[in-house]
Symmetry: C2
Subunit: 141 residues, 2 copies
DNA sequence: TTCTGTGCAAATGATTTGCAGCCAG
DNA sequence: CTGGCTGCAAATCATTTGCACAGAA
């Protein structure tokens, strides 16, 4: 927990924020997140730990966490914002089954290199990317 | 225009739809679309040609056009659905400048192959993909 | 005629915001 | 104390839907 506390302090400092019990709780819960959560789903997680926390606070924190690159916001298909932990993780992409909606994360060095090259070919300096591959998984095929 | 008429008939047939003046107009306007349009922006284009057409009809058509792969729906970052013409075009991806929001379309065969391989590595049959590269363009850097 | 298509306005669902009170520094 | 933070409810924004009427087959 010491390590998370360090990250939390750094996060507050970067944004010039005060520490509050709400922010601490939301931060800790988000750090423990596995896979993808919707803002609404994450609200429930937070409210289970402390029902007095309002959803606006959760939305405001998710925005801050995303700006700090602690969270990453994804929009896969429908218009619902999904969040995932993006803390000290390698950049990864998503492979989504169109039938069962299973989502596999993967990472590929050749892909990363290719993306940098493609951006460079058009005079861009790459800062990030989002890629979703859609298909049918082994079970659904 | 004969060619578009053919596409229009095919589109109606595939969905079992009737031809109406609204559908014909919206179809023609969409075929002429350059780059990306929001649903709302496209509504304005349609309404300029015929103000009596309601936005619900435009939204309903955009959904149908997307299902026919005549349109492609993109969601880049904010929660706004953007549409682009996807008719007989090669699959392409997008490179977006984070500063000026300029959007460059590109296509790369090595990328397409790599995506198929990556999907296959995880037991998936690839049916489609969306990729957004974010970076800084030559002018903004 | 018959049933699909349409415009309107109201409904929805996700997210944001205004505001009065609260609390960390 | 004081300005930032919070919860609440109301406000937005994009999109969808219910419904009565219009119009294609």
């Amino acid at each position: 927990m010491k390590k998370n506390n360090h990250l939390y302090q750094e996060f507050l400092l970067k944004h010039g924020l005060k520490s509050t019990k709400q922010r601490r709780l939301i931060f800790e819960k988000f750090i423990m997140t596995q896979g993808h959560v919707s803002a609404d789903g994450f609200c429930n997680v937070v409210k289970k730990a402390d029902p007095s926390i309002g959803q606006a606070t959760v939305y405001r924190m998710l925005k801050l966490l995303t700006e700090s690159h602690i969270a990453r916001k994804l929009e896969m298909g429908d218009g619902i914002g999904m969040y995932e932990l993006n803390l000290g993780r390698d950049h990864h992409d998503h492979l989504i089954c169109e039938k069962c909606f299973k989502c596999v994360e993967f990472k590929d060095d050749a892909l990363e290199e290719l993306q940098i090259r493609l951006a460079g070919d058009h005079g861009f300096t790459l800062t990030g990317h989002k890629m979703f591959l859609y298909g049918l998984c082994a079970q659904c095929r």
